[in-house]
Symmetry: C2
Subunit: 314 residues, 2 copies
């Protein structure tokens, strides 16, 4: 018998997709309805795997809604609501549940939507599955597919902040400002909508698994490659001061948890995209390969062992 | 600190609904879009709590899709797809995963819809959250609210079959035909759609928590009561032969897992409802109280301790 752990998460997803057939590799599934597309996504989170020990119940709630809404943002869609399925242990305190659901509610309201219902089940380990749905005009929907050679690669916000937050937790540096970036991510819904309306974007996804994993996904879907311009990466200098440059770069590439939008635009449309939201151009599309460029020198970006880890090699 | 287990599941749901605000007590959440309503539901299932030991992986998959589609059926809606979030242990066999996802796929296809995507997470206990969505014309949507005094109470199919299946498993009577009713439930989508189109139904839900729990829910939402006519209950005589009459009645009232549609119709519309699907009239709406009527004698239907258990008392 072959165990699940003997293959990678991506191999498992391919295997399952092959069984199910016709699974589109996007942040949301999309369905046609008249002039709109209905988009829907689900994310399951578990106590042990997904929530650092120090998270408050309120932050756990916030995060569950946030990661689901980030997928809605990545399609350029307007959220229409969420459902929450919660597996709760009988031993859990009611005050924990109150705070948890307040966090779920607060995050939904903060981003202009709400929780419409859900399901309660009994589970030893705290398990929360969010399902978010929304709508986007058919001609504005943003998908992972669409990037072309010569397009510019752009990102919203900063990179490596969540990685810095996790590092701070592991160092018991609990007052570090980046912990909040990790534990209370903000879905980029406004930016996603504005970019969709700007009609300047050729492909988009969120970078929740880290920049390297994300460009790897975009390159596979589009049969293209990327050059990242190392000097242009928006890594806060406070993080470099905190952990050194190489570690900060590793956080940006591989740590995940940043929940920014990663997207491509044609050079002619860059001005329109820049009017839509704050963005940084961090690279460009090439025929193939994933590259990190610094001072005109290119290093390959290659995956190592664990799913979302990547390294640079000559 | 008050523990979660110190209150009932329903008290917990009320508590959470109060925090979230404006939760409508229906089988699905519904959202207006033009002339349609978009309906969406989620159900989380766990290995220990929800899947009897003897279930095959294929049956587990089938059941997850089935219970979610049953909620779509209860709104009179047409399914548009499902998402599946799966929490899988690293030690699980790949052949188990293959069969599980084949079961998920087969059930979706059997009922004219498909699985559009989902999420994979790591979890010690097998955890599966389905999210099903669909559409129904705005003027045809069927809700729990709407039943009025004098309406007839109706059900599709048989009652107590899943309870009989669970009983057979506990008796190690593994060839018993009712085990299949328990482990491979069939959502009544065709019946739900036909009833919606018949415009004869005043309120509807599925009876997945048992007949007693379901009429209790309908009575609360509608501020009414029900009289069940005991002789008219569609309990298969094979079940009565198997476990005796009182136990068979208990299965129908409290065992749950039948996944039939329970609905009310005005007496004038009964003919239209009967043209839409096979149904049994099993009682009628009164001002208040839940009653079991046999030979003109009425007994009260009252909840006992555990959530879905009810008993009859004079």
């Amino acid at each position: 018998m072959t165990k699940c752990k003997s293959i990678s998460e991506r191999q498992l997803i391919w295997r399952i997709s092959k069984i199910l057939g016709d699974i589109v590799n996007d942040d949301c599934a999309a369905i046609d309805i008249d002039d709109s597309q209905f988009v829907v996504t689900t994310d399951m989170l578990h106590r042990e795997t997904d929530f650092p020990e120090i998270m408050t119940p309120w932050q756990i709630g916030w995060m569950v809604v946030s990661v689901n809404l980030s997928d809605i943002a990545a399609m350029g869609a307007e959220p229409a609501g969420l459902l929450i399925a919660a597996g709760l242990a009988p031993e859990i305190d009611l005050s924990f549940i109150d705070e948890l659901f307040t966090g779920l509610k607060d995050c939904a309201l903060a981003f202009g939507t709400r929780i419409l219902g859900g399901d309660i089940d009994t589970s030893r380990e705290l398990t929360l599955t969010g399902c978010a749905f929304g709508f986007v005009e058919k001609d504005l929907i943003l998908r992972r597919i669409g990037a072309r050679r010569g397009d510019l690669l752009c990102t919203t916000g900063y990179l490596g902040t969540a990685g810095a937050g996790l590092y701070a937790i592991n160092q018991a540096d609990f007052k570090n400002e980046y912990i909040k970036y990790l534990l209370e991510p903000k879905p980029k819904l406004k930016e996603g909508r504005a970019l969709a309306h700007s009609r300047s974007v050729t492909s988009m996804m969120d970078n929740s698994d880290g920049l390297a994993r994300s460009i790897c996904d975009l390159s596979e879907v589009n049969h293209i490659g990327f050059v990242i311009q190392e000097e242009s990466l928006p890594i806060p200098h406070e993080i470099v001061e905190m952990v050194g440059y190489e570690k900060a770069l590793e956080f940006a590439l591989s740590a995940g948890g940043d929940f920014e939008l990663l997207f491509t635009v044609e050079p002619d449309s860059l001005e329109a995209a820049m009017k839509a939201c704050d963005l940084k151009v961090i690279g460009y599309v090439v025929d193939k390969g994933l590259w990190m460029e610094r001072n005109g020198n290119k290093r390959k970006i290659v995956p190592v062992g664990y799913e979302h880890k990547f390294k640079l090699s000559n």
